[in-house]
Symmetry: D2
Subunit: 341 residues, 4 copies
Amino acid sequence: MVILLKKSYDKAQLDSLIAWLKSKNFECHLSEGTSKTILGLIGDTSTLDIDLLKAMDIVEDVKRIIEPYKNVNRRFHPDDTVIEVGGTKIGGGNLGLIAGPCSVESTEQIVEIAKKVKAAGANFLRGGAYKPRSSPYSFQGLRDKGIKMLLEAKKETGLPIVTEIMDISQLEHFEEIDVIQVGTRNMQNFELLKELGKIRKPIVLKRGMSATFEELLMSAEYISAGGNTQIILCERGIRTFEPATRNTLDISAVPLLKKLSHLPVIVDPSHATGKSSLVKSMSLAAAAAGADGIMIEVHNDPPNAWSDGQQSITPDEFKDTVDAVKKIWSFCYGVVNEKKD
Amino acid sequence: MVILLKKSYDKAQLDSLIAWLKSKNFECHLSEGTSKTILGLIGDTSTLDIDLLKAMDIVEDVKRIIEPYKNVNRRFHPDDTVIEVGGTKIGGGNLGLIAGPCSVESTEQIVEIAKKVKAAGANFLRGGAYKPRSSPYSFQGLRDKGIKMLLEAKKETGLPIVTEIMDISQLEHFEEIDVIQVGTRNMQNFELLKELGKIRKPIVLKRGMSATFEELLMSAEYISAGGNTQIILCERGIRTFEPATRNTLDISAVPLLKKLSHLPVIVDPSHATGKSSLVKSMSLAAAAAGADGIMIEVHNDPPNAWSDGQQSITPDEFKDTVDAVKKIWSFCYGVVNEKKD
Amino acid sequence: MVILLKKSYDKAQLDSLIAWLKSKNFECHLSEGTSKTILGLIGDTSTLDIDLLKAMDIVEDVKRIIEPYKNVNRRFHPDDTVIEVGGTKIGGGNLGLIAGPCSVESTEQIVEIAKKVKAAGANFLRGGAYKPRSSPYSFQGLRDKGIKMLLEAKKETGLPIVTEIMDISQLEHFEEIDVIQVGTRNMQNFELLKELGKIRKPIVLKRGMSATFEELLMSAEYISAGGNTQIILCERGIRTFEPATRNTLDISAVPLLKKLSHLPVIVDPSHATGKSSLVKSMSLAAAAAGADGIMIEVHNDPPNAWSDGQQSITPDEFKDTVDAVKKIWSFCYGVVNEKKD
Amino acid sequence: MVILLKKSYDKAQLDSLIAWLKSKNFECHLSEGTSKTILGLIGDTSTLDIDLLKAMDIVEDVKRIIEPYKNVNRRFHPDDTVIEVGGTKIGGGNLGLIAGPCSVESTEQIVEIAKKVKAAGANFLRGGAYKPRSSPYSFQGLRDKGIKMLLEAKKETGLPIVTEIMDISQLEHFEEIDVIQVGTRNMQNFELLKELGKIRKPIVLKRGMSATFEELLMSAEYISAGGNTQIILCERGIRTFEPATRNTLDISAVPLLKKLSHLPVIVDPSHATGKSSLVKSMSLAAAAAGADGIMIEVHNDPPNAWSDGQQSITPDEFKDTVDAVKKIWSFCYGVVNEKKD
């Protein structure tokens, strides 16, 4: 960490700052110049409040040199984290293929889709029971009833279940759920993250729609700080000025997050683009970029889906996509993940 | 609402769509052209799922013509909403001056600041008890103890209290709190919004850092749909590419939100800029734009604040700002709010 | 085009508007409802000034239904445009591999790099002679001397040359240049685009760093309106809030632009990310998404490059990337470009 | 400037880097820590190419501590620049009121508007002769004929003229023009900026629609590096995700740019919002924030304007706005500009 001092700083205040920093076990290096004076800090600055320093009378600016996250930082944990659920793995060379409808609509619907996506190659079933909708007048999901339908589909197909939680109070219904998803609007719902840190289930943490990589990793750090280290990061598109797609898929998130962190990184091309016609090409791009998995909305009857039909593909299109993804992925994964420097 | 049909649509499917829409009491107007065919809908489309329509086989695109929110729409409720708390009002020509520290640190601190901001002209005390922090290693607030300290400060000064809730489970501690704040990261925490719709206390709803005006108003609609119509909208800066300010204050939010909705609109220049040196000029700009109030971080000792000291001003600076704001506001409020067309 | 009229519009003004529109050969369809009245327009609205309509007294809003560009619109020209330069093709199933240094530094340097990238598989040489730099104190390029060095490299290797123009006045030096590049900062330099419409050379048109797809296509329309239809669109990253990459590569640009337009679409992963370590994975992603080519910065000695060394890769790394790109592309191109619907 | 070295850097390379930096008159301070080593640089780093350093083998990251611009930096030139044109001043406590139509349409039109805006209080006439339009099919301006009409209006009213240049080749027509405007799309047209640095006329430099403050100031530095120091900075809204306004007015630009630079800062509320109904409130906000002037589109007949009628106000509305702006400005200017720290 580097602290730029104000031009006319008070020497006594500087001495007091240095004494305080030394008491916290930081090494301090002072560089006095004609136009500016810099104080360099050596030590574990991840627990130091940068805003506090910036607010001091004698400080003009503070620049962090290393990342403020530790548990999820590849710098300190070079090996890939592998998530395992009942024999199925994601990360470290294992491809996760997560598919299913935006909303669970009935037991028949979810069982039918589960069978079809399994046949097409999916190794996880996703489906929304608790649904975040921007309008209070839109369908809000079947909630705990939907959870039961998902578990029915698991019984029928053996596929582990991924589904979204929206509030701590819903946690009691997630006991038999295999993987809990935190949606983009809850990436910084810190109370929820803390609760999820206390349990021992894998978490899919979706990137907030305007969250930086650092913020995403800090939210993962919240979960891991509680002791739950089974976290899957998910790029799902960010908010930009471009109106042609629902969000802008930030494909560079895949190699960058994998460089910064040891956690698996998956991509959700359905929400990233909002257009079913782009799901296949964006899935291939994700595989080529080295993603550890993809999460796709699949519906048996997209035009009549209860939500987000516009971005869902059919089971046949999903099979077509999976076949191509597997081919690209098996060629690219090693190729783009070979070096972690 | 206008539906653009695909070039080679199926006539039978169109008939079935029209029949379905008529069964929902919409009037349908078909315009067939050589290069495209349009179906116009007349009726209350706010409850119609636009994604559902877009997903249909014969539909190429759908454009909404009027807003999807009703309760909070000025079109249907032309008169300004006035929020009243124990005799103090915000909205409809009443200026809210909300001030206090980012974090409550001790009873002494909050009581001292409360007295000072009251003396300077504040009519509400704000202070953070539950603190959303991007790092799990940063100070997380005094939580329920902080709430008690705020109530102590209310007892001493008579100022009504505004403080932030982060999770439904904290609601029990807010019984004596006057105004509940929903922070930028929770603007789309829909489960929380639904709970806040059930109570009868004013809510300050902060704009999500990448939320559109429409999304903000839809979140307000969530609260009002539950029956709680006492909502204050708060512009607190949006996320952009510019790194020089923490966020970018979208000052046009003030006149635009007031045109679209009858709810009061306030501005938080402290979070919008992240720089104490900009708080005064941005407060004056907010007043000049016709805001119904401002919310400012004030700390007796900014350099030693436990959080966000960088953006806090001192009680003296606050008094200076309030004096100027009042002068500008009393001149501008009528001037810029004269027409609601 | 759909025109929403104001609630209490003047009947005489509406009649006059309809008469004016009919005189311009538009068909008009009026739908009068209880809460709103809509006027639908059928005809070629690409030449109609939408702002003019919006400004009229009786008009509340106007929505365009089809795109405002014609020449470059796939709706009217379904077949892929193929660009050919001295036997080398881009588009329609032909892969362009454009490589070379950010800046031309000397004849020796550019000839050496040209030979190396050719050996590695490049079919075009790129190199900057006129350099847009954000600081007036940074190296501004060798300018016309650099152009001559590029032509020397062409003579030695036979590779066609791609290089950037920054101002109309430089055009005289581009006579022997094969492909002229318009940089991101000049995408809306309309006077330059008009001049480039008058010549008969292929143009690489880079997307402005905050340009929408529609704006990019309108800029291409400027060139084609002058008669020059040999245009290659280039996605090079957009400006977002994320600081970890120089720009955010919008990979969805590839399939979307190819759906909207018949022009070839290439990707520049070097400028899109600003990091050499991401060039390979992003090149593979581009190939997987169906791009018609990639443009990569290659330098024989990146650490000592005169500009943008940070994002340049070595000739060996380029060879490695090209080998992988070709493999992915030959599998994916047909796969993702099979349908144009 | 602070250079973070890679973990396992080569000692010989470091020595060579230090020797090179010393040869360029930088003082170097090395801080070696257990987990990282930092090299601090003291000296004028504005001419040092940061990308070059970042590209070096042994360098992991480089952070600039002070700004890369000099001529336009208030740090080195504390006094306000005052622009004077024929007795009319902008900056340093002088308010510029620039008004006129988006496009010059005829001598009659521009003379009539000039008289009206002068009567309403304007001290500059603006009007577009060369028009940047996103569509090649939209009206492109009367060009040199429009310039002549503007000079006619100057003769009639005595108002100095502000009008936009789009290309170097047009410069010959600007001889009698008082102030040359560089539009948002040309803010980084560096060849044009260099030419404008050679002349001795005031330049209004509009912020690029996705340009940072630093980039805007670097573009001003381009002009001043050529010797032309008469530059007026103009905030005109930035591109964000919000669709309700054409751009987002970044009102914090006013105090921030004035803190970073000694140049006058004006605001264009017409382009910033794209809505005539917001012009007045945003003008008042600009005045309250301490702007040195405002630039407003005024048209005698907005619904029939040849371009941008939607954002133009009438002469009467302009008078109403000017009266209020003057009142706010005379109160606020000193208030918000009192300290330059």
